[in-house]
């Protein structure tokens, strides 16, 4: 038997871990692009939003640009009247993300090769706002429900299995099934990405491009192919993150703001490390929940979750600017 307060703390910790997984999913997309092309992709969050919007649109048989079409032609079309099964819709949404990757490379970054990082960063800000507007125009701005068949609500199994830990008014840990699925998906995703980078031809080429452009060219690697590939992978990660966040809180435009939570995650984990993104996400998730529970709510009037992650990142920046797993910064004189 444990005191209720302690058990509640453990539950907070577990839920923090789960929230951290979702942060990590967004951070992963940032790391992929930054590692391979040195671009800090501000649009990663909007990509997740756009992917989720596209997925819902396809599943519901929504007519893309329906408002525009109706305004131009005086028609009144909104839906094709069919429903696409979740699995097929996910594949189609992925195809859209690959197309997007190709366009991003072809119309924007191909022309910016060799530019300063700040210019590339500005380009991604432009891309973010373009995609937000484009997504709005294509699918409409209303909040949509996303249901791809992931179980939701508390897991009774966990509640029942843990109920014995506390007294008569403790009913076991409440953990959302969706969060458990998200955690499993994140683990699988990381294993897939790491083994892709480590063992496949394209993965090797990707690492080579990340390391040295000239050398990569000289061994016969097409830079633009690799960059399309990297943006596609980031699109894939964005789709996964979009599905998880969308299923959790509905597909809405505030989804793009979760990208901002990925920033402290990256500062903690390091911008170039895939495991760093995961660990950073977990630290932020657990940190902000526990801080709110132990210090924020009792002493600071609550709502510390909004700023805790950024404060933590600031402290990290002072003491370990390269993050936990980032490459060490050594200045040779």
């Amino acid at each position: 038997m444990f005191p209720d307060q302690f058990l509640f703390g453990v539950e907070v910790l577990l839920n923090g871990l789960m929230a951290g997984v979702l942060y990590a999913l967004v951070a992963l997309g940032f790391v992929l692009i930054f590692k391979a092309s040195g671009i800090f992709n501000y649009a990663q969050g909007v990509m997740a939003l756009f992917a989720a919007l596209t997925l819902v649109g396809i599943m519901d048989g929504q007519v893309p640009f329906s408002h525009l079409i109706n305004a131009l032609f005086g028609t009144d079309v909104h839906h094709f009247g069919w429903h696409v099964p979740a699995f097929a819709a996910i594949l189609l949404a992925m195809a859209v993300m690959v197309g997007l990757a190709w366009m991003v490379q072809h119309f924007i970054f191909r022309h910016l090769v060799g530019q300063e990082p700040i210019i590339l960063f500005m380009a991604t800000i432009g891309l973010a706002y373009f995609m937000e507007g484009f997504g709005d125009m294509m699918w409409g701005s209303d909040i949509k429900k996303l249901d791809v068949g992931i179980p939701q609500g508390g897991s009774f199994w966990i509640e029942e299995a843990t109920a014995f830990l506390g007294g008569s008014n403790f009913y076991g840990f409440f953990i959302d099934q969706l969060d458990i699925v998200a955690a499993v998906v994140a683990v699988v995703l990381v294993i897939l990405l790491v083994s892709f980078a480590q063992y496949t031809k394209q993965g090797r080429a990707m690492r080579a491009v990340a390391d040295d452009h000239q050398a990569a060219l000289s061994v016969g690697i097409s830079l633009s192919f690799i960059w399309v590939l990297v943006w596609s992978l980031a699109g894939f990660v964005a789709l996964v993150a979009g599905i998880m966040w969308g299923a959790k809180s509905g597909v809405q435009f505030s989804l793009s703001l979760i990208a901002l939570k990925a920033l402290p995650v990256l500062m903690l984990g390091g911008f170039t490390s895939i495991p760093g993104a995961i660990v950073g996400g977990l630290i932020v998730g657990v940190g902000e929940k526990l801080f709110e529970f132990l210090i924020g709510a009792p002493f600071l009037g609550g709502a510390t979750e909004n700023w805790f992650a950024y404060m933590l990142a600031l402290v990290f920046l002072v003491f370990r600017p390269q993050g936990l797993f980032g490459e060490k910064i050594i200045e040779r004189v």
Partner: protein
């Protein structure tokens, strides 16, 4: 001088094959600066062809034209009997032309083995899916590529550093790893941009030996740029001499050595 399609024997008694690559009236400009001015020369199969000249003569530019990093405004590149269209560097590499760089372009974050392995990328055919599953074909392919890489590593005597990250290696060894990566691609034509720059005498001797052995053992055609006249004369079968973007000499080392224009370019001319 010689029939293009015929092989011939050099004064040293080495047999040189037919023309493999031909540069025809190449002119390369950067804005108003003319880096290469109307230069033509050929490379024959199995030979070691050197390009020499003082600093700023346009040697590296010429190598960059061959490897597709620069595109000449005028002139044609002929490779294996056909005119080569304008190509990107990676397309040139896929045609079996490997190169090294004057300032070493290695993957600093990877081990020596991984670096050399990237040289095999174009020999990996299996798609993502079968690679992910990792059975059968992909596994066999991986084993074959590893075997080639290990042979190159043995050949260049870098077994002892195979697991070392490249960033920790001294300069001379980095040069050798770069050569290993180029060799792993099993190239028809190997371009070496100052393979001995910044090396001490012992390292230079090692590198010379490797270049000769590569040419000998694998029959690889080699085009190299070098400053050290002694080294060039010992290694090469034929030499192109450049000065201020122009060709001022072309022929076997002995002939070039006694060419007045070449002597002037290297020693300077008295203006009186």
């Amino acid at each position: 001088m010689f029939d293009q399609a015929e092989s011939f024997v050099t004064p040293d008694g080495r047999t040189i094959g037919a023309v493999m690559m031909e540069m025809k009236n190449i002119t390369l400009r950067f804005g108003g600066v003319v880096a290469i001015k109307d230069i033509s020369f050929d490379v024959r199969e199995g030979e070691i062809r050197a390009i020499i000249g003082p600093n700023g003569a346009g040697k590296s530019s010429m190598l960059n034209v061959i490897s597709g990093f620069y595109h000449p405004q005028e002139g044609e590149v002929w490779y294996k009997g056909a005119r080569r269209p304008e190509m990107k560097p990676f397309e040139v590499a896929r045609q079996g032309i490997a190169r090294t760089f004057q300032n070493i372009a290695l993957f600093e974050g990877m081990s020596v083995l991984d670096n050399v392995m990237t040289g095999r990328l174009n020999h990996m055919k299996t798609g993502i899916l079968s690679q992910a599953i990792w059975y059968g074909k992909a596994e066999r392919e991986e084993t074959e590529n590893r075997a080639v890489v290990e042979r190159v590593i043995d050949f260049l005597e870098i077994q002892h550093i195979r697991k070392t990250p490249v960033s920790r290696l001294p300069y001379g060894l980095k040069k050798r790893v770069e050569l290993a990566r180029a060799l792993a691609a099993d190239p028809k034509l190997l371009l070496l941009d100052e393979p001995m720059a910044g090396m001490n005498v012992e390292e230079k001797e090692d590198m010379s030996r490797f270049i000769l052995d590569v040419n000998d053992e694998f029959g690889t055609t080699i085009v190299l740029i070098e400053h050290d006249m002694g080294v060039v004369m010992d290694l090469s079968d034929r030499v192109v001499v450049m000065d201020y973007g122009k060709k001022i000499g072309d022929g076997p080392p002995d002939e070039v050595r006694n060419n007045q224009a070449v002597i002037d370019a290297y020693l300077g001319v008295a203006h009186d």
